[in-house]
């Protein structure tokens, strides 16, 4: 079953890549996916009609009780069959609906993915999995409604639908979590068995309301109904699939599914009956003012959904029976009529029913399909729609006070449905022939196949209803009610009240249709329009505008666009944070120990301070860069004096490379301008002094502590014994903490690649006039430097040096060559491209880390084969050497040529 659900997603991933030419055979493979699934699901009918339920469990996050658990029972089977069956017909239809140049592949992909999510939704028996599929349907419907992305109105409708359904989705998630908390499980089957506990729980009401908001937004119930008519901007196949047969029914499905756990309380009944009833009357009312084919049908859908909600609210066997019949009937006739509307618009280019007329001779087959759908929708015999309406009008056991109100609503809205059916199936085909540009041609058979088949099925099930009721509807009703019930349907109930009411609706519907124009005039009159301005749609628009305005205000307030403003904010926050931590932590400052400061130290510090200050006061860019270099060389001396030869060496080489880099990069730029005057510089200076003082304080506190030596002793005692190295710094880099180093050289590689892609070469470097002595000298020095770099690498494990210093030294050799002979010459002298060096280095380092794998050692564990004297950490260091050389050269060559 997992594969059945994921078949949609897999096919969706494939579909966009199929060639989408019109006549191509590939196109016919797409409807085959849902058709195959339909056949597969249909093969379960015998077992399910024996009231079995099949469970399929696939663990997902077992620790949290979340699983891809699927349950195929009567209810989910009905929905699965609707989803795949109607899906297959709609895919077939869509192949003809879209002309050349549309993104048919993308459309098929989105539709298939939607179908997969929808199947997952109705089959999941785990609340979290259900929620995930629920949100996926919202997401794919967003793309499908906005499929004609060039139209602003389609994009807007898509946003509106997404916002409304996602808001509902969030409520739903909250409701689910409350529900699982009360029932102690995420499994719907388990929850259904604990209905008593849940209904008695204190949190029952909030959980129910949250779940209902989710279901109502999805199924377009009042007051969230407004997104559905707007969503008619979608291509017609989308409307026929999502907005009649599948997605909008998800809310209904959820209510039916949770009925055993949540249903049959006064709150449930009242809310569902009230909202459903309001939805029924509002949609019937609003439908009277519409003339667009698809909008009319959309209001018809909202009416059907409202009716289903009312029926679920009533919750008796009889109500459920009507519910499932109406569900199937509506899916059949509404998809059929949507496709007819699509064909009409496709062939005539007209969306307005009142502007069409007399088409029955030009399009006889379309007329037949429309008639078949409309008879079912209008509730005329012998269709399944008639059975549904008969049953609806005879629903017994309505909650007392509502009874007559509901009956009135049902009567009135059934008339409105008749009106809609007439508008779609009668108006375009009869009456005066409308003036249309060009001759209207009948649609071709493939285009007509799907609506005709659905229309036919409406009659078929009306006449021969027992296979449907016994095999499918009875198990579904039993699931919803939590007890076994048998549905018996028949066309002819004898002369009773329901038949009389049917006749009344028929007469009323004909009257409504006859006087539709004056009614419409009345409804669009001023008082109603002012009323509409306070409707929920305008609330939603105002809300989204408000959110946008707040976002814009906040962005303008926070995003000044000044780099220094951002930096100042960040620094200030850090300062406040550190200041607070120092206060709260109650740091006691170590006493200043009076000690003599060697004059050499004092001189070094003063020299570095002077250099640092120079960068602040100078107006010359070159001087500032040079001063930064002096600070760097001061660092070298600090490292030398403090027993860190590796650092000194590395810093020295990096300092040379940095100086070169900055000079190459900025030599050609214009003079530094004095952008700021002393006044505007004052806040920066204040912030600088404050943060400097803060950092100094931190340094003082850190250094005042008695140094903890246990890590130093740990590394010192194991360096030789376990890692076969005498230079402890290098041992840490390539062995103890090699994973860190691997991460760091990866960062270096990324930086080098970023530099080369930022500076696409503009012109080849020119060789400046370089003295002959220098050029000759470089010829001798370069090999010496290379040999020295190898030496640093080779001895690095035991003496100061190593891959970092060696790689920098090797790079320096080629940089000298570039200075003497030009970058192209240096590039040619290099055995590999710098980028290849980077890749090679990274590969060597990672490969060395795998050396321990055959021995079962972890990644990057050092391996020292006996009697070789060469261990995997040394290979790792060689990789570092190659990478550092590559990175340095890649960056510097790039600047040299830029």
């Amino acid at each position: 079953l997992l594969w059945a659900v994921f078949a949609g997603f897999i096919a969706a991933a494939v579909a966009p890549w199929l060639p989408s030419r019109r006549a191509h055979a590939w196109m016919w493979l797409v409807p085959a996916v849902p058709a195959g699934l339909f056949a597969w699901f249909a093969s379960f009918i015998p077992r399910i009609s024996g009231l079995q339920a099949l469970d399929f469990r696939y663990p997902w996050i077992p620790g949290l009780g979340i699983g891809l658990d699927f349950r195929l029972d009567g209810l989910s089977l009905v929905f699965s069959l609707i989803i795949t069956g109607i899906g297959a017909l709609i895919f077939l239809y869509a192949n003809r609906y879209f002309g050349h140049g549309t993104r048919l592949g993308a459309f098929h992909g989105l539709m298939l993915a939607f179908m997969g999510s929808m199947l997952g939704l109705v089959l999941s028996s785990n609340l979290i999995a259900l929620y995930v599929f629920w949100e996926l349907t919202s997401l794919f419907s967003f793309f499908l409604i906005g499929f004609e992305r060039e139209q602003a109105s389609a994009r807007k409708a898509a946003w509106q639908a997404l916002l409304v359904t996602n808001m509902g989705g969030l409520c739903l998630l909250a409701g689910f979590l409350l529900l699982s908390g009360m029932g102690g499980s995420l499994d719907i089957g388990v929850l259904a068995g604990r209905g008593e506990t849940i209904r008695g729980h204190a949190l029952y009401a909030p959980a129910l309301i949250l779940v209902l908001v989710g279901a109502f937004t999805k199924s377009a119930q009042f007051p969230f109904h407004f997104w559905l008519p707007d969503a008619m901007k979608a291509p017609t196949p989308v409307s026929a699939y999502l907005h009649s047969a599948t997605m909008v029914k998800a809310g209904i499905y959820l209510l039916a599914r949770l009925h055993p756990a949540l249903g049959d309380t006064a709150l449930w009944q009242n809310v569902l009956v009230a909202c459903g009833g309001l939805t029924m009357s509002a949609s019937a009312w609003l439908a009277l003012s519409q003339t667009h084919l698809k909008s009319l049908l959309a209001y018809g859908t909202i009416w059907a959904l409202g009716t289903l909600v009312v029926l679920l609210g009533i919750g008796t066997f009889h109500a459920m029976e009507v519910g499932v019949v109406l569900l199937v009937a509506h899916s059949l006739y509404k998809a059929c009529l949507f496709m007819v509307a699509g064909i009409l618009t496709h062939q005539t280019g007209e969306k307005d029913a009142e502007k069409l007329g007399g088409l029955r001779r030009d399009m006889p087959a379309t007329f037949l399909a429309a008639l078949a759908g409309a008879v079912s929708m209008a509730g005329l015999p012998p269709s399944i729609g008639f059975i549904a309406k008969e049953l609806l009008l005879s629903v017994k056991g309505n909650p007392g006070p509502y009874r007559f109100v509901l009956l009135a609503i049902a009567l009135g809205s059934a008339m409105a449905m008749f009106h809609i059916a007439a508008m779609v199936a009668f108006r375009p085909f009869f009456l005066a022939r409308a003036r249309l540009p060009g001759r209207v041609r009948e649609a071709d058979p493939l285009f007509l196949f799907s609506p005709l088949l659905l229309g036919f099925l409406g009659f078929f099930f009306g006449l021969i209803s027992w296979p449907l009721s016994r095999q499918l509807l009875s198990p579904a009703v039993s699931v919803v009610l939590g007890r076994t019930e048998w549905v018996e349907l028949s066309l002819w109930h004898g002369f009773n009240l329901a038949l009389l009411l049917s006749l009344i609706t028929l007469a009323g519907g004909i009257t409504l249709f006859r006087f539709r124009v004056p009614i419409r005039m009345g409804l669009t009159a001023v008082p109603f329009r002012t009323l509409a301005r306070f409707g929920p749609a305008s609330v939603s628009i105002a809300l989204s505008r408000g959110v946008m305005a707040v976002a814009a205000f906040q962005t303008h307030a926070l995003q000044s666009g000044y780099l220094r403003a951002y930096l100042a904010v960040i620094l200030s926050v850090i300062l406040v944070g550190i200041g607070y931590a120092l206060r709260a932590g109650g740091v006691d400052l170590p006493a200043l120990a009076p000690m003599s400061i060697p004059w050499s130290d004092a001189a070094l510090v003063l020299f570095m301070l002077a250099a640092a200050l120079t960068t602040v006061v100078t107006a010359s860019r070159m001087l500032a860069i040079a001063a930064l270099g002096l600070v760097g060389f001061g660092m070298v001396l600090v490292f030398v004096l403090s027993g860190a030869p590796d650092l000194a060496m590395t810093q020295f080489l990096v300092e040379i490379a940095t100086l070169l880099l900055l000079l190459l990069a900025f030599y050609h730029l214009p003079r530094l301008r004095a952008h700021s005057n002393p006044v505007s510089a004052a806040p920066s200076a204040a912030l600088a002094v404050a943060s400097g003082a803060c950092v100094a304080l931190v340094a003082y506190v850190v250094m005042g502590r008695p140094p903890s030596r246990w890590m130093a002793d740990f590394f010192a005692s194991r360096s030789l014994e376990e890692a076969h190295g005498r230079n402890i710094v290098n041992v840490i880099l390539v062995d103890f903490r090699a994973f860190d180093t691997l991460g760091e050289i990866t960062v270096l590689a990324v930086a080098a690649i970023a530099v080369t892609s930022l500076l696409r070469r503009t012109y080849a470097g020119t060789v400046a006039n370089v003295s002959l002595v220098f050029r000759k000298a470089v010829r001798f020095i370069k090999p010496l430097m290379l040999v020295f770099s190898f030496f640093l690498l080779a001895t690095g494990h035991h003496a100061p040096g190593g891959g970092f210093a060696g790689g920098l030294m090797a790079a320096a050799a080629y940089i000298l060559l570039a200075m003497a002979e030009g970058v192209p010459q240096a590039r040619r002298a290099l055995p590999l491209h710098p980028k290849s060096l980077i890749g090679l280095g990274l590969t060597v380092s990672i490969a060395s880390g795998l050396a321990g794998a055959p021995l079962g050692r972890p990644f990057l564990a050092g391996v020292w084969p006996p009697a070789v004297g060469l261990g995997s950490p040394l290979v790792f260091d060689a990789g570092v050497y190659l990478l550092v050389a590559g990175v340095t050269l890649a960056i510097l060559f790039e600047f040299g040529e830029a």
């Binding site: 814009a552 995003q559 666009g561 000044y562 780099l563 220094r564 930096l567 620094l571 400061i597 130290d601 510090v605 960068t615 500032a624 930064l628 600070v631 760097g632 660092m635 600090v638 490292f639 403090s642 027993g643 860190a644 590796d646 650092l647 990096v654 990069a665 900025f666 730029l669 530094l672 301008r673 952008h675 920066s684 600088a688 943060s691 400097g692 950092v695 100094a696 304080l697 931190v698 340094a699 850190v702 250094m703 140094p707 030596r709 130093a712 010192a716 030789l720 005498r726 230079n727 710094v729 860190d740 270096l748 930086a751 080098a752 970023a754 530099v755 100061p800 960056i891 510097l892 600047f895």
Partner: protein
């Protein structure tokens, strides 16, 4: 050196901060360099800033000489220095690219993207 190090760390940081708050992107880059020196020094000095022996085990011995410097901060700083070079290169490339795009290394010239 122990007494002077906090002062040096603080001053390098302060000059660095002042530089990165300037409009000139090159000054921002220089400020970045100063701040990384300051940070390296801070990390390095957490192992004690004094005249000490390098953490290298002499030939024939199994332990480094008495009073050797803590190797861990050194290892951390070593990679930080090299990464600092990579980032300096990246920043410089950004400045050059910005200069090509807007013809200036003035950070305020980049406000085109302001909402």
């Amino acid at each position: 050196m122990d007494t002077l190090a906090p002062i040096l760390v603080g001053c390098l940081f302060a000059t660095g901060v002042y530089n990165i708050l300037r409009r000139s992107l090159i000054r921002v880059l220089i400020g970045f360099g100063l701040i990384s020196h300051s940070a390296n020094l801070l990390v390095f000095s957490s192992g004690g800033l004094r005249r000490g022996e390098p953490p290298v085990i002499p030939k024939g011995a199994v332990l480094p000489p008495e009073g050797f410097m803590d190797p861990l901060p050194q290892a951390l700083v070593l990679t930080a220095i090299v990464i600092g070079f990579g980032l300096t290169g990246f920043l410089a490339a950004l400045v050059v690219a910005a200069n090509r795009k807007v013809g200036s290394e003035d950070a305020d010239a980049l406000r085109e993207a302001k909402p």
